[in-house]
Amino acid sequence: MLQPPTLPTNYTVKHGHIKTSTGKTIRSEEMIVNMGPQHPSTHGVLRLEIVVDGEIIVDCIPHIGYLHRCFEKHCEHMTNYQQVIPYADRMDYCSAMTNEWAFALAAERLLKIEVPERVEYIRVIMAELQRIASHLIAVGTYGIDSGAFTPFLYTFIDREKILDLFEMTCGARLLYNYIWIGGLSHDLPPRFIDQAKEFVTYFRPRIKMLNDLLTYNEIFVKRTANVGVLPKEVAINYAVSGPQLRGSGVNWDLRRDDPYGVYHKLQWEPQIGKGEMGTVGDCWDRHIVRMREMEQSLNIIEQSLAVLPEGNVQAALPKRIRPEKDAEVYVRTEASRGELGYYIVSDGTASPFRVKARGPAFVNLSVLPEIARGSMIADLVLTAGSIDIVLGEVDR
């Protein structure tokens, strides 16, 4: 059975001896400190056990599981595939639309059904709005980690506008239960398109303001450039995905490389980190990739709103969805944090036999000990923040 990673029980902290000028020796030793589950800046209930030599980190072991809610086990007891959607919401609660869409896609591929064009476009709009909202949280909390409290408030003002759009459509601000298998739960309300267009024109200059305030601030650059460098090969070996992978210079975006929805019909570019302020793959690169991805999402939303076709959004599905026996499918999508995949196994009944969720934050977090060794505690906080984890997705 796999053991969770811990320090070996016979781990003895290393002692050092420093000779002073008078000839006496001062004993020094490493400390084992806990950045505990309750901490203002581990973005949730993450426990980091750190072995420090002064301020330098010798080793760092993340302990997770504080937010495990048995999502996958719950799915096996659903009486209907549609009932899984609210549970999928709650995995990555900062980016619920993309979770729902990934599961709906997986179930639709299992059942081999096609959705109308209008549904595809609306799903793209919702997912891109959600991507912006999720990146706004990431950027805001990253500012707090580095000591700048103000950008957080500004990003949340912008986020409010997005949440207003969501609330107008499906009634909820954070956990929507909107993208159903075969279609959507509600059609767009009449005011949605105009308000979304207003949001696009409102938000573009705000990205520039956020860049001026935080991203290109000399102190922020000094804190994040050359810190937490994730080399390309290490990123690929650890199966890292999303902005973290693109920040290390790898040109891989599932929306283009494993296309789903209508992304192939729209004009947009995946953003890659180029090491502008330091090394390729440092924290600043990941941050700027997120900022630029928000801009690209705005382009996608603008284009989708312009060509939105008419049609019906409610699906004509039976009440009990029964896929074939022994059918299985793995579908992966580009969620806000990386490759979100669902592997569904069906046994012919109305409830899934097994649903496995591949959470991007879980995989992205696994690379933290590798890149944190040798840095300082202050750097560890920023590195962990630049991975942009949501513990709901790490623990499921």
Partner: protein, 347 residues
């Protein structure tokens, strides 16, 4: 001070009175600056702070003080009880002692000693001892981190502060803060930041260096007070509250009070040395003993406001970057300015 002595004959009574007046000032000022910080922070962050206690929240600082007063006094289990209890007061004493030499007005200075500036630098080191004690006595590894970082930071930034004071003293010719301020009396042109009351050719040559010195001193004094961007010891994102973590209630309030008092102290020192202290910028208009207090407090308050403004805008520096800034940027520049000002004054 002599004025007060003419009223009361008893020396001891006068001394006690003079030491209580700054304390009353600190307490009143702390309430005002609490409110300022809260409202300035809120408006920078595009929100409004408290609006319900009193008109637009003016009574909120009093409510905060009352809340802190009635909190349970918790001392961690294995903390060093004596040091834990002493630490906030030592930190406060270090700050409060500096008020003895601040020239509030031409007739009011707590103690008109000839070594005023030197005394300030010396007494400011007491705060380091208090913070170290707090960090160690809390029996908490994170507090220890905060305490040690803070000690390193405050000690490093005393060098630029002292060097800047030396430069100002060179121009004015006295370590006595009251003399320094009297030297700058007579209008804005006489302020040390604009070169002091020197002949105009010397003044023009000295002016760039005094302006640089002023900025460096201001930056170093923000570091002395442990405010962002130098607030690593109480880095809320990393160490919960740093050396403050285990303190609650009135002990926390003492640390808080000493931080705000320190804010005013360093602003006041900068104002007294570089911006003319209690002298009016208009020369004889609006000057006089009582006006002096107004000018002194107003000028120092502007710098308090700037410190609050900077806190809510900038991210924080890492420990090694902080030390780099102090030793490799500020100190060499100040040495250069020292040399330049000295040469100009001699030639």
């Amino acid at each position: 001070m002599e004025f007060i002595q003419t009223i009361f004959a008893n020396e001891l009574f006068v001394a006690v009175l003079l030491s209580i007046i700054p304390l009353i000032f600190i307490i009143v000022y702390a309430l005002v600056v609490l409110y300022t910080e809260m409202k300035v922070a809120a408006h920078i962050q595009d929100r409004v702070a408290y609006m319900r206690t009193g008109w637009h929240g003016v009574l909120q600082p009093i409510a905060d003080m009352l809340k802190l007063l009635q909190k349970e006094d918790i001392i961690p289990a294995h903390a060093d009880k004596l040091l834990f209890r002493m630490a906030p007061f030592i930190a406060f004493v270090g700050t409060y002692a500096a008020y003895a030499v601040l020239p509030f007005s031409s007739i009011f200075i707590g103690s008109n000693i000839n070594l005023g500036a030197f005394f300030l630098v010396a007494v400011g080191s007491l705060v380091v001892v208090g913070i170290l004690m707090a960090g160690w006595a809390s029996n908490n590894k994170w507090s220890l981190f905060g305490g040690v970082r803070s000690a390193a930071q405050m000690i490093s930034y005393e060098i630029p502060t002292a060097l800047a004071i030396i430069i100002a003293v060179m121009i004015t010719g006295s370590l006595n803060l009251q003399e320094v301020t009297k030297f700058q009396d007579g209008g804005i042109g006489n302020w040390v930041i604009f070169g002091g009351p020197l002949p105009w050719n010397q003044k023009l040559m000295v002016m760039p260096f005094t302006i640089i010195t002023f900025f460096i001193m201001f930056v170093a004094s923000i570091a002395e007070v442990n405010r962002t961007p130098f607030d690593l010891p109480e880095a809320e994102s990393e160490l919960v509250q740093g050396f403050n973590t285990e303190y609650s209630g009135m002990r926390f309030a003492m640390f808080y009070l000493s931080e705000y008092a320190n804010l005013f102290t360093v602003s006041a020192v900068v104002v007294a040395l570089f911006l003319g202290g209690w002298s009016s910028p208009f020369g004889s208009l609006m000057s006089g003993p009582v006006w002096g207090i107004f000018w002194f407090v107003a000028k120092a308050y502007i710098f308090v406001f700037i410190q609050i403004w900077v806190r809510w805008t900038l991210p924080r520096l890492r420990v090694d970057q902080l030390m780099y800034v102090s030793w490799k940027v500020l100190t060499p520049w100040l040495f250069f300015c020292l040399l330049a000002v000295g040469l100009i004054l001699v030639i």
